[in-house]
């Protein structure tokens, strides 16, 4: 049995007090503060943790919370639009609402939720014991959390951002948006942007450098591949938005001229910078979900992903071509016909690898032995809904058609099919698929089916009518729509607006059932089987939930879908070769445990990530309200940085107090270094 080493102090106060006391005091008594946090239970084990699994769970919990916040904003928007000239929201509040709905959903839900899965499962899938830089991982999480909170405090500090998530200049300049909302938005996104950037570096290094022996890149699970592409996109897209945000905040807070038209500025500069980031961002949102369903579909089809290499390469192709299409968001901006034609053609090019993926998923189902669990339902839902979103995307890849469609509800329909139908449904597939791995309990399948069908119908009910609304002339971002422009007949635009509102509440009901399912499952005593889905990849080759060090011994990989091939072997029968189960998951786990490594050092928890992360919102509040506060924040940041640099990644022996109970052989001090 492998153990995590917990060095005892020299010498330890253990056992009976009457024994002759040793000469020195314990570290805690002596030091008090500045002992490394080493507890494995209680709140400290979460706040100071550097364990990728705990961080993954925290990422998940926080983004789920923001999902509910963003969903609430969406419901308010739909309520406002349920009737002509409605007055649920004022124009000002409505503008804030749709800005924050988009910002929250993109930056505080879909991206971090994908990061949650990446954090939790990438090391497990590639057979590593943690990510490459655990403290940086913790920093990323805290930055995301603080950035998200910072962004949302704008609601009570003078109003949220009201310029739309695209924040076009010059509408975002102080003259046209005098409240602090946009300052919060800019600085909040800078903070979460740093989180994404450090996360990207960390995960790329993990994937490239920390794979288990034998796991060549082409034996990596598709989820890991898609995350690799995503993280590369983040790595290169984040600095571009960082530049744009810096320019905007220099303009708003320090009077720079970047978007001042009177001084000759070109407002299209912002649009270019924003969309050079913004379009890769679309793939950043969708690719993790593609990865998840590329795990779920083979598992429940009982056969490998059809055309693994094609799926991998098309993912990489999407990631590459995705850089050359940003201006298709600007077909109406007056770019000139040549650029428009070039970007129009390039945009159609992106549809090819996307089409390849859809074909391969469908062909994965083909000839399989399909098991319709909730996770599988969600995954098939993704194929269907994403296909609709992708095809409506083709209709506005054509620039002339796009000049009619852009900024109408047709576009809203398109990207909600892609994001809700593609990304969010994919994340839900991930919840149902990996829940037993994360918590050791199965989510209720009965509630899960309700959850799926309500969301599936809800998405169609909400967003399908928007195709019609847009094509028949209802623009986006309108606090009201007038009765006189809705046309005649029963199926007038007012009717479809109401249908969409009903649909949005249907989705909300589906999500509510998911939340209920979480609580029901948490109360359940029954444990999930070790391998409930007869899964295929490495993360299932360890306990559920995994031990702190993930694997007792790092498995050697011989094939794609390693776990499956350990369980099944081909046996010749009279009807030809047949796959026969040769081992159970429990047996494989027992083998691995028996061969476990003895000395596993995990990096120690640390105070510094949270301290460093805390400094950034302080600086940001300072930029908005008073620069003196920024100075205080900068002080905290420098303290945190140097504390971090001067801290060894593994705690000194002296940081450990004696183990609570006895110094059995499993707890004895291993030789370090």
């Amino acid at each position: 049995m492998a153990i995590i080493e917990r060095p005892a102090t020299v010498p330890a106060f253990v056992g009976d007090a009457s024994a002759s006391p040793p000469a020195l005091v314990t570290p805690t008594a002596a030091l008090g503060a500045f002992k490394r946090p080493v507890s494995t239970t209680g709140w400290k084990s979460w706040v100071f943790t550097v364990d990728h699994k705990k961080l993954g769970l925290m990422y998940g919990a926080v983004s789920l919370f923001f999902f509910l916040v963003g969903g609430l904003e969406a419901l308010l928007i739909r309520l406002q639009l349920a009737a002509p000239d409605n007055t649920v929201l004022s124009a000002d509040l409505y503008n804030q609402m749709f800005t924050m709905h988009a910002t929250t959903m993109v930056f505080l839900f879909v991206m971090p939720m994908a990061a949650a899965f990446a954090n939790y499962f990438l090391p497990l899938q590639v057979g590593a014991r943690d990510v490459a830089f655990p403290r940086i991982n913790a920093l990323g999480f805290w930055l995301f959390l603080f950035g998200g909170i910072f962004l949302n405090t704008s609601w009570v500090l003078g109003g949220a951002a009201d310029g739309g998530w695209f924040m076009y200049s010059p509408n975002s300049s102080p003259l046209f948006s005098p409240s602090h909302g946009i300052d919060f938005w800019v600085l909040g996104l800078q903070i979460t942007g740093i989180a994404s950037l450090v996360g990207a570096i960390n995960l790329i290094v993990t994937i490239i450098n920390m794979r288990a022996p034998g796991m060549s890149l082409m034996r990596m699970p598709v989820f890991a591949w898609m995350q690799l592409v995503t993280q590369f996109l983040l790595l290169f897209a984040m600095p571009v938005i960082t530049v744009a945000l810096f320019l905007l905040s220099f303009q708003r807070n320090f009077g720079a001229a970047f978007f001042d038209v009177e001084k000759g500025a070109d407002p299209l500069l912002w649009q270019h910078l924003f969309w050079i980031f913004g379009h890769p961002e679309v793939y950043i949102i969708i690719l993790p979900s593609f990865g998840i369903i590329s795990e779920v579909l083979p598992t429940f089809s009982r056969k490998p992903l059809f055309g693994y290499k094609f799926v991998v390469f098309s993912g990489a192709a999407i990631g590459t071509v995705g850089w050359g299409v940003w201006a298709h968001h600007m077909f109406a901006s007056g770019l000139g016909p040549v650029s428009v034609a070039v970007f129009s053609a390039a945009t159609m090019l992106v549809a090819i690898p996307t089409g390849v993926k859809i074909c391969n998923w469908t062909l994965t189902l083909w000839g399989g032995k399909l098991w319709f669990t909730t996770a599988m339902n969600f995954a098939i839902g993704v194929i269907v809904l994403f296909t609709i979103g992708g095809l409506s995307g083709v209709t506005h890849a054509s620039a002339p058609a796009d000049t009619q469609q852009t900024d109408t509800y047709h576009i809203v329909a398109h990207f909600h099919y892609v994001i809700v139908g593609g990304a969010v449904m994919g994340l839900f597939a991930g919840f149902y698929y990996w829940w037993p791995k994360m918590f050791g309990k199965l989510l209720s399948e009965r509630l899960g089916k309700w959850n799926f069908w309500l969301m599936f119908f809800g998405v169609n009910l909400t967003f399908a009518p928007m195709h019609i609304l847009g094509m028949q002339g209802q623009p986006r971002r309108m606090v009201v729509w007038p009765k006189k422009l809705t046309g005649e007949g029963f199926f007038n635009l007012g009717f479809w607006n109401q249908v969409a509102t009903v649909g949005s509440f249907t989705i909300a009901l589906g999500v509510l059932i998911f939340v209920i399912n979480i609580f029901v499952t948490a109360k359940k005593v029954e444990k999930a089987p070790l391998d409930p889905w007869d899964a295929r990849t490495l993360e299932w080759m360890t306990a559920s939930p995994p031990k702190e060090h993930n694997f007792d011994s790092i498995p050697t990989v011989h094939a794609l879908d390693e776990f499956f091939h350990r369980k099944y072997e081909e046996v010749d029968t009279e009807d030809g070769p047949r796959l026969v189960r040769v081992k159970s998951a429990e047996q494989i786990l027992a083998e691995e445990e028996a061969a476990g490594d003895a000395h596993i050092h995990l990096p120690s928890p640390s105070y510094w990530p949270i301290v460093l992360a805390f400094s950034l919102p302080v600086i940001a509040y300072g930029v908005i309200f008073n620069l003196m506060l920024s100075v205080v924040g900068a002080g905290i940041m420098i303290l945190g940085l140097f504390g971090w640099v001067l801290e060894p990644s593994v705690a000194d022996d002296s940081d450990y107090d004696p183990p609570a109970e006895g110094s059995g052989p499993s707890k004895e001090l291993a030789s370090i270094g």
Binding site: A128, F236, V650
Partner: protein, 217 residues
Amino acid sequence: MADITIHEGAAAPADHGHDDHGHDDHGGAHVTSTGLSNNKLAMWLFLGSECLLFGGLISTYMLYRGRHGGGPGPAQVFDIPLTSVSSFVLLMSSLTMVLAVNSAKRLDDRNTRLWLMATALLGALFVGGQVYEFTAFYQEGLGFTTSLFSSSFFTLTGFHGVHVTLGVVMLIALAAIIGRGRISGDKAEVVEMVGLYWHFVDVVWVVIFTLVYLIPA
């Protein structure tokens, strides 16, 4: 109980101590899938990301360099001889940085620290030159908010200056840490990492110097 079990035919995985910032407390190199150390790979990735940061700033400057309205323009304020010298000083610091890395590889702590400090001093000199340049420009009527040219010029070169400053802080800290023997692991790698960053900052300056100062003149 067995020590680290190595599976047949396979290298030992990176099973212990995934250290940040090169504090390798266990000695011994990590075995990684690519053979490249995690720290170095991460630094390369970070620099790749930085390329786009400067790419965005340089593009902004290129778009706006001619737009100075009634205010002073590039041809009026730039002092090419001075900037050439400061560029040269920065390039020299790359040389001293190379020497520092060499010394570190030869496990020569004394000269490593010496070259690091020399690099830091040259870097500080460059920053000082930039502070002088900014002050002079300001007094010549080119404020941060004067025109699009001025805003984008100060932002671009200011960002670079901040990068140099951070580099100098890293160099000083590294020299101090080496002096106190706080790096028990592979010192050369840490020095090399800081060196990578430093060379990157220099290369960026070469690009900026060419595009911003030389081409319009």
